[in-house]
Structure formats: C-alpha cells, structure tokens
C-alpha cells in the first residue's frame, strides 16, 4: 500500500477535494477560500482553480448569513463545506449555528436534513491574542443536534472530514491553528474514519490521559518524559467529542485506575468537565485517585507569548497532574 507524507492542512484540503470529485453537490464556501489566497490557513489551496468559482465561493464578511445560507442550501439538498475562518467568529453566527443548523431538523419533526459541515479552527500558542486563540469546543458540544470533531493528526483530519462531508447530519469540525503544518505519513488510498470511535495514541498501564486536538501531541511529549521515570501513560484521543467514545475511555480507566483529562478550553465548564463527570459516574469504583484536569487557566488569553504559555496547558502541567494521581506530587 503506498503512502506519502502530508501536512495537516493538506490532508484537510485533500479530503475536500476528494469529496468534491466524488459528489457534485459538495461545494466550498467561506471567506477568502478561493485561490490565490486559498483560505487564511491555506486549507482550500487549489480548489477554486480545479473546480471553478461556482463551486468554491468567497462571501462577504457576514458570518450569520454565511451559515444561514449554507443551511438553506443544505436543506435544499446541496452539501456545503463551509469555512468559518476563526472559531471566535462563530459568535457572529450563534443563532444560525446553535438555533438554526442544530435544531431545525428536530423542530420540523425530522422533515429536514442538514448535510452541512462547518469547518473552523481555534487554539493558541501562536500569540494570536484573546480574539483569535481560544478553544471553544465546549460551546458546540453543549448544543444537541450537531456532531463535533477535533482531529489531532493529519491522518485523523482527512478521514474524519471525509466522513463528515458524507454524513447527512451537521458537523462542527474544529482544526487547530498550531497543527496545520504538522506532518504525517498517511495512506494514498482512500480511507474514512467513523465518528464516535476513539484512538489510543499510546498504550500504557499507570495512568489514562484523555486529550483532544493539539493536547494529544503535548500529552505524547509528556508521556516520553514520564516513561523515563517509569510511569507508563495511556493516551486516549476521542477524535470526536460528540458522539464521544465513552466505552474506550472507561475501558482505559478500568485498566489504569487513574485519569487525567487534558483540554485546551478554559477549565471552568470546559469539555474536560464532561469527561470527568462521565467517568466519575460510570467508572467510579475504578478510580484510585481523584481525576485531574489540565486546562487553560480561568482568565482571558493574553497576547505576550510567555504569558500565553503560562495560561495555556503545558507539558509540565500534564506531568504534574499525572504524578499527582499517582500520589507522587
């Protein structure tokens, strides 16, 4: 089987391209998605050149209507892949996303189908400041009616996006700006990754780390350091937050008896709390120590790089949390 090395953003582009080739109803719409600009993070590179301006559409800066239009088009049977440039700009379209896209199928008694993918990106570590560096997945996990995916690797990104485009349900698909240039060798042949299936990115026996998006990479780095101290860490990447592969997480905690949840969202009422609550309830008697969360501190994200790094989760934070669950801290 042949393989090649791709960057995360190329994997995202390739997924869109392959699906556009496969189905004429798939089109891309968003702000600045056409060539030569090709998207703010270059995730739509080459698409308008290949498929034409009819299928790759630039819109004015009008997020509410952009999402509403995408919804109307999806309802009429097209399959838009809509780019929301920064996850923060969802605030301009909260009605369209949370009240319309997520709810319209249900409110019409299931008459309406919304085969829409909203692609966006979030995350910090690049000193982008408080309007451009947040991780807001918790907001969208909190709205029933959508699925939410946060891929951590190029392999996952491509497989999940292809699945999302083929789904008849709306998907909120969140990339991470600091992951776009990460590389991985992936298969040339087509593959799809199902939603609701977690991936064990590292096997271990002492502590389970549940991490998503860029935090998976940070957890892997921490795990290397911890291995040198003879602490064996298992890393479970849920890949999709809704639906969540609760079974895999519980299985891991049953094995290790300790859990650390790492998420770049703000700690208070963040996604990590959902995992903690779920495991606390369904895996209670497997826990040998209180569950630790490693999240962004409960403050506004500062611009200055060192301040930003201090607010966001660090490898040291993860190591400390792991050791705390082992009673070594």
């Amino acid at each position: 089987m042949s393989e090649r090395e791709v960057m995360f953003r190329e994997a995202v582009r390739d997924a869109q391209r392959e699906e556009m080739l496969r189905d004429k109803n798939v089109f891309v719409i968003g702000e600045d998605v056409r060539d030569p600009w090709r998207g703010t993070y270059k995730a739509t590179d080459g698409l308008s050149t290949e498929f034409g301006l009819d299928r790759v559409v630039n819109t004015p800066i009008a997020e509410e209507s952009l999402i509403g239009l995408s919804l109307g088009a999806a309802m009429a049977g097209l399959r838009p892949v809509t780019e929301l440039m920064y996850i923060e700009f969802s605030t301009r379209a909260m009605d369209a996303i949370c009240l319309q896209v997520a709810k319209i199928r249900y409110m019409t008694g299931g008459q309406i189908t919304v085969p829409l993918v909203i692609r966006t990106q979030g995350g910090g570590y690049l000193a982008s400041g408080a309007h451009h560096g947040n991780s807001l997945e918790a907001w969208f996990c909190h709205v029933p009616g959508m699925f939410v995916a946060t891929p951590a690797t190029p392999y996952d990104a491509k497989g999940l996006l292809k699945t999302a485009i083929r789904m008849d349900d709306p998907v909120f698909y969140i990339e991470h700006k600091a992951l776009y240039m990460t590389k991985q060798i992936i298969p040339e042949d087509e593959y799809l990754i199902p939603f609701g299936v977690a991936d064990v990115k590292r096997s271990g026996t002492d502590v389970t780390i549940v991490a998503n998006s860029r935090m998976v990479l940070l957890a892997l780095e921490a795990a290397e350091d911890l291995q040198n101290e003879n602490i064996s860490v298992e890393i479970v990447d849920p890949r999709t937050l809704v639906p969540l592969d609760t079974e895999k997480i519980l299985e891991s905690v049953h094995k290790t008896n300790r859990l650390v949840v790492v998420n770049e969202g703000v700690e208070r009422c963040g996604w990590a709390a959902e995992v903690v609550a779920m495991v606390q309830k369904r895996g209670f008697s497997d826990l040998d120590a209180p569950i630790e969360r490693v999240c962004t501190r409960n403050t506004v994200l500062p611009f200055q790089p060192d301040l930003e790094k201090f607010v966001l989760p660090s490898k040291a934070d993860i190591i400390k949390a792991v050791k705390t669950t082992m009673g070594k801290e």
């Binding site: 004015p60 509410e64 209507s65 239009l69 319309q100 319209i104 008694g109 029933p144 699925f147």
Partner: protein, 338 residues
Amino acid sequence: MNKNAEKMLPKEKLLEMYQKMVRIRNFEQAAHRLYTSGKLPGFMHLSVGQEATSVGACNALRDDDYITTTHRGHGDVLAKGVSFEAAMAELFGKSTGICKAKGGSMHIADVSKNIFGANGIVAAGIPIALGAAFSAHYRKNDRVTISFFGDGASASGPLHESMNMAMIWKLPIIFVRTNNLYAESTPQADFQGIPDIVQWAAGYGMPSYSVDGNNVLEVYETTVKAVAHARAGNGPSFLNCRTYRWYGHNIGDPGTDRPKDEIEAWKAKDPIKQYQEYLIDNKLASLSEIEAIDNQERELTEKSIERAEKAAAPALDSVFEGLYVDTVLGKKAIQGDR
C-alpha cells in the same frame, strides 16, 4: 382595485385566492378562540388582517419554489399549501402535527411543499431563504425563493447581509416585507431610519416596490413581476407590503401600544371583505359562489379542528427521535446520565 385582474387570471384562480384568504382567517380566528380557552400551549402570534399579502405572494409561486417565514407565519405557510389539519394539530401539540409537535406555532414547516419553515428568531429565515435561492443558482434551475419577514427584521443584520449577498450573485430571491407598521410594540418611526423603506432597499441595487398589502391582486401582480425577474436570472427584488395585524403582537398582548382608532381604521379595510366586494361588483363571482366557498371552508375548519384535537399526544421517548439522521451515532450522542 386592479381592473386588469380578470385579464390576468382565470376565474378558478381568482376564487382560489379568495378561498385561501378565508381559510387563513378561519384558522387564525380558531387559533385565537382555542388558545384563549386554554387548549393550545406556548406562544401564539396571529396574522389576522394580513391574509392578502400571504396569498397574493404565494400564489405567484410554483409548487417547487421555496419560502421561509416568521413567527407570525401561519398565513404564509397555509398560503403555500400546508395542510390545515396538520398545522392545527401542531398548534395542539399532537403527534399528527406537521412537525410532530416538536416545533409548535412558530416553526411550522413542510418540506414536501418547499416551506423551509416559520422561524422564532427574527430575520433568521432570511439567510436560509438565501441558501435555497443559492441552491437554485448552483444547480442552474429556475426555482425562486420568497423570504417573508416583518418590520422587526428590517433593522437586523441578516437582512442587510442577505440583500447584499443576493446582489453579488444575482440570486433568485424575493424579499417580501409584511409591513404591519410595528415591530412588536415599537412603531416604525422608532426603528426605521428613513420613512420610506423602498428607497433604502433600492439602495442595494434591486427593484423595490411599495405595495398595498391588503390588495391581494396588487400583491399578486407585483410578485409575479419579481418572480419573472428572478427566474430570468436577474436577481432579487424587494416588496414592501403595507398591511396591518388586527390582534396584538401575541395573544396576551394587552393591545395598548397601538391607538384604537388606528386599529379600527385598518379593520375597516379588511382585505377579504374588499376582495369579496370587488369580485361581486365586477361580476367575477356570484354571491352564492362566495357563500359556497365560505361554507366549504367553515366545514374544513370544523372537521380539521375536531380531528386535530382528538389526535394522540406524542410519546415521551419521541424526544429522542428526529434529531440525527444517523440513528446509531445519534443514540451515542443523545446518551446521558438520565
């Protein structure tokens, strides 16, 4: 009244419009009666008095054209063809409701009739209509979309975003403003920067019309023009239909925000009565034909209400149905502690 009407339309069509208006009036007044006697839960926003705008506009459309409308959308959806009984059952919250009791009065939709729904959020339906129009543009067919909205939406972001975008791509959309002079309790002068909104719409570059919203034929004619413009690929139009709602914003609205004499003056310009008189005066229909329609509609109303009221309430675990198409993943996503 338009003297060319008899040339434009065959008799059945003229009578059909009358029938539809009567149907809407019956529906709304029944809803009022049932709601105030405690039989209908939730909110109720009635459009009595606005029938001509709904019917005149929708009758200019084909079955495969799309509409979206507002929280005050009973008239528009009935005009586009939703079943009286299914709509009434939805108000009752029955399992036979058009939205299986999931949406209620403000969210009535019927995809089979290309009704992309009433909407509880002001102006939210406008971009959705834009999307439907976009799909016609994308597929290169000649289907058009009407976006019904009210005074309240005129000042909202999504309307302006949509009007701009519609012009960029010349989308086949018709913006129909049901201008009943009030946004909830706020009169026009307090929410609109300039007195004549048509100027303002024209500023976006599209044809804009000021229409007597209580004259069903005038609404019809103007809409036909706008539809032709859109089908020809020439893009959007804007219709400002001046009309009036007889009841308050919602049932429960004490009605103290509007002057009594204003209400009475508009009631005197009842669109149905006006049309009825026009038809009879111009010998386009006989009184007995009118009465026959009235009786037919009265019977439909009674039967529909009776059946709707008797229908079964939805089962409790239907709360998990109709959420996701993928029921396997949906089950996982719905799972929780309770």
